[in-house]
């Protein structure tokens, strides 16, 4: 990670092969990589690499902000993580790479998709809550 910071701090780009499942279906471990750049001014919708207070490095999407602090959530997660300061953000994803194809995270097409995705996340959470509450018998089956 110091090398990553050094490369990005020099105005460079760093290719990272993310691990884990929290950014599915967009980023799959072993298949996809991301090109990271300096975060300049992180914004809602950006996928960023940040460091938690406990020292852990995480690659998740910014889903909101409250004052100076950002709210994060992996695409495959429903629980958000609040209170991430801009100083904790090390890099942001500029390009997504899959099978030699690339997606520019600044392109209008991608931003449009992100907007849709962020809206959908809330619906997805709603749907999940509905399913869980139904399972728990908190809602009627005929609802």
């Amino acid at each position: 990670m110091p090398i990553l910071s050094e490369v990005i701090g020099s105005g460079g780009e760093f290719e990272l092969y993310p691990r884990g499942t929290s950014m599915l279906p967009l980023i799959r471990e072993g298949r996809d990589s991301v090109i990271l750049i300096s975060p300049d001014s992180p914004d809602v919708g950006d996928i960023v690499l940040y460091r938690r207070a406990g020292g852990q490095y995480v690659l998740h999407r910014i889903v909101g902000c409250e004052g100076e602090l950002f709210t994060m959530c992996g695409d495959n997660q429903t629980k958000v993580e609040r209170g991430i300061a801009v100083g904790q953000i090390i890099a942001k994803v500029k390009l997504l790479k899959r099978d030699g194809r690339t997606v520019d995270c600044e392109s209008a097409e991608y931003r449009k998709w992100v907007k849709k995705w962020l809206n959908m996340t809330y619906r997805r959470v709603g749907l999940l809550r509905y399913r869980v509450s139904k399972k728990l018998g908190l809602r009627g089956h005929d609802e």
Binding site: I3, S10, E13
Partner: protein, 87 residues
């Protein structure tokens, strides 16, 4: 021949690796692992040097004959050339 600017060597878990920084990192992504000999050649390439010059430096420092050293140097340079690091 000479190594292009824009690379740094850092130690990761006792292993020397070269990575690109700044502008160079836009075209070269990844890391080059360097063993002791690799690091020596890498450092020699900071200034313009000939193949003969590198071979001479290696045979002087290590107990290796000219032919073996030359083969190693050529193989290493070929890797760097393919990555566009030497010109």
């Amino acid at each position: 021949m000479k190594r292009k600017d824009g690379f740094i060597v850092r130690q990761i878990a006792d292993q020397n690796v070269a990575v690109a920084v700044g502008e160079a990192s836009r075209t070269f992504r990844g890391m080059i692992k360097l063993n002791d000999t690799g690091l020596m050649i890498w450092n020699l390439l900071e200034d313009d040097i000939t193949e003969n010059g590198i071979v001479a430096a290696l045979t002087e420092r290590y107990e290796v004959d000219d032919e073996t050293a030359r083969a190693d140097v050529r193989r290493f340079i070929a890797v760097l050339a393919e990555a566009g690091i030497v010109e």
